[in-house]
Amino acid sequence: MHKLQSRIPEGPLAEKWSNYKSNQNLVNPANKRKLDVIVIGTGLAGAAAAASMAEMGFKVKSFCYQDSSRRAHSIAAQGGINAAKNYQNDGDSIYRLFFDTIKGGDYRSREANVYRLAEVSNEIIDQCVGQGVPFAREYGGTLDNRSFGGALVSRTFYARGQTGQQLLLGAYQALSRQVKKGNVEMYPRMEMFNLVMVDGKARGIIARDVITGKLERYSAHAVVLASGGYGNVFFLSTMAMGANASAAWQCYKKGALFGNPCMVQIHPTCIPVHGEYQSKLTLMSESLRNDGRIWVPKKIEDAKRLQSGEIGGVDIPEEDRDYYLERRYPAFGNLVPRDVASRAAKERCDAGFGVNSTGLAVFLDFKDAINRLGKDVIEAKYGNLFQMYEKITDDVPYEVPMMIYPAIHYTMGGIWVDYELHTTVPGLFATGESNFSDHGANRLGASALMQGLADGYFVLPYTIQNYLADEINTPRFKTDIPEFDKAENEVQEQLEKLMNVRGTMSVDTLHKKLGKIMWEGVGMSRNKEGLKIAIDEITKLKKEFWLNVNIPGEINDLNQELQKASRLADFIELGDLMARDALNREESCGGHFRDEYQTEEGEALRNDKDFTYVAAWEFKGEDKEPALHKEPLNFEYIEVKQRNYK
């Protein structure tokens, strides 16, 4: 039985992190050279952690499934990164950033972690500027900021609409420097398939070479997960096609608890699905809601004519338009948080007011903004997004309203970690989106980049030393020991089992089925009955998968279908855990909305008395029910309130 210890340092909130750093164990330079660390993933968290630890003197082995570490999906983040610099002199502070993040997360995150996040946010901006990240600047040469949802200050630093790309390239370049120096060994196109445990500690991994199909063994004194989120459980999401949960899932099966798996973020402004061959969804930045007005027709007849293609949005007169966000939330209007905007769109579409052929879209209209500010101003602000929209849909948003619909975008849940980012498996750490993180039940815009880099540059490289300090007498060891044999055999057996099914259904067909079950039962709004059905259907799908999946090609070869099938096998199991977690959490909070728990106006209704905890799930064996552990959340510095955006 695991006892969840969050290991939050003593002392007042603002002193906890400094106290921790003053008292933790460190590793001296001569010993660092003798210690190896494996890092899985090269996104913001992984690349930053690998580079920083290598700079300190540790020997790092860095793995990614892509052909280059520069391609991790952090690169796709558009909007920006938050920091409490208060450069705009608008009253920002570490406390205010901390407060907004806790409130935005609907009071389901750990105070001490979030405070530390806000504290190191400023160092991140310094570091990135030092690396040559070309942030937007004012004419005087100082850094520019913009504002984002859920905040009253301008604290978001940005590099056009490509902030994630620029921050990732900064981390990638820092990593490249260490590769050149010989402190990091890069393993691109290598996918982690198993965690190797020796004497109860994480001591290595089994990875599969994507090109040759060969299984390889790697040993280390600690393993760091930085493998990202699991949004692709839903098949359609804004994630990269290859983004997967398999590394995290193997760790779960080796004893790492999984925290809040049901906490998934649905982004309100994505380009709607066009047809059954759709492979992924494209996000339109949240910033569009600053000037765009969201609406559907008031009359159901108009909606029907839109759906049949008889008329377009411009044909509907002003008085027949329902600006439902402005109607429901007069104070925040079109700028309500992501979870609120997403649910409101779904509510209108479910009622039959959707505006495209599938009935699953609402309008985002720039007509008023263009009339007010002129086309030039709108083009300067959103030109690249409008161009992207036009390339995908063939519609020109300057002339006709955009169509948008919510899509899966980020996963707040993940591997459970303590204050040191240490999982329940000794020697295994989890960072960035792969851990259950600091975002509680809902993440605010521009906070993902902040958390990934905080973990990677400024938290993990310190906290991991507290563990490694006790490992300095453990010599580097060979991988020809029974523990590695066993772990490799497990993978080999699983892959052979997959290849031997020789069924008739393609991996994508089965993945789409899973996505449909998840979206309908465990998506934007959930209820007891629907979740039970989903669990039932996932069980059936698991059987169907293992009876009927068809994987062409060879096992020891470049085989993208085998790669996908192996990831899907894990997604199916994770889908089941997500549904169980959602069923257990009998309240609505942030991204998790249960139909049974809402206010009269249809807003999320938390149950603080019974559910102010992190749900951490323990694997109990194949096809056995997982065990629930609860980490109570204590709010000492913040008053827990109902979120109100009216």
Binding site: A72, G130, A136, R137, Q165, Q166, H274, Q278, D508, L558
Partner: protein, 247 residues
């Protein structure tokens, strides 16, 4: 409107095997689908017939990771401008079209299989100095060194490179000058990157030659095909920095 298409796709087992074009027919493709979704449909058909799917790199499918890159009807990333293959949509094609699909062809980018190539050479170039040597935790306050907005903007223009390799594929000499020029420009335009400017440019150019990339003859094909609009000015800046470093 749906399309019926003829596809001529390069198939090659591994770097040492001889490749060849294989013809496929594909019917009823929606003009709203993306080019890669069209290839997904083809692969589903191949899998259902027990054949091996066509291998190609792709990941984000929103034009930013730089993983995808196909030579389509003689143009890197296909017939549209300022986009990657994953952003190309089938409405750019007509019913009955024949579409020829090849991998990037360059000595420094060997074919791994079918349409997948090895672009490790780009990582090696960055490792030669495409960074600022600053350790975590040692940076001064972000606003302590003002940067002219104009320089920050030009730097960002260059930093937008996604490392897809279209510039090399488009160039008759398979030169990486635009790629290296973009990185040298990005960093040299900023005060933080100036300190190491001369070592950086010398090392990166030497490595470029060593890795088998060709020289620049100012044809401008790279600029014409770059999905991110990186301009030849960056090659000019690279040359200037190189001469400066040699003096």
């Amino acid at each position: 409107m749906n399309l019926n298409l003829k596809l001529k796709i390069w198939r090659q087992k591994d770097p040492n095997s001889r490749g060849k074009f294989v013809n496929y027919r594909l019917n009823d493709i929606s003009t709203d689908s993306s080019f890669l979704e069209m290839l997904d449909v083809l692969n589903e058909e191949l899998i259902s017939k027990g054949e091996e799917p066509v291998i190609y790199d792709h990941d984000c499918r929103e034009g930013i990771c730089g993983a995808c890159g196909l030579y389509i009807n003689g143009r890197p990333h296909g017939p549209d401008s300022l986009i990657t293959v994953c952003q190309l949509h089938m409405r750019k094609f007509k019913n009955g079209d024949t579409i020829v699909i090849e991998p990037w062809r360059a000595r420094a980018f060997p074919v791994i299989r079918d349409l997948m190539v090895d672009r490790d050479a780009f990582d090696k170039l960055i490792q030669e100095g495409g960074y600022v040597s600053i350790n975590t935790g040692s940076a001064p306050d972000a606003n302590s060194i003002p940067v002219k907005k104009e320089h920050a903007d030009l730097s960002m223009d260059a930093a937008a490179c996604i490392g897809c390799g279209a510039c090399v594929a488009a160039c008759k000499n398979a030169s990486a000058m635009l790629f290296v020029g973009a990185k040298v420009s990005h960093l040299t335009l900023l005060p933080q990157g100036k300190v190491e400017a001369s070592d950086r440019v010398r090392h990166m150019v030497a490595k470029m030659d060593e890795l088998g990339f060709g020289n620049c003859t100012n044809t401008g094909a790279c600029e014409a095909e770059c999905p991110k609009g990186i301009t030849l000015t960056n090659i000019a800046r690279l040359n200037r920095e190189y001469y400066k470093a040699a003096l």
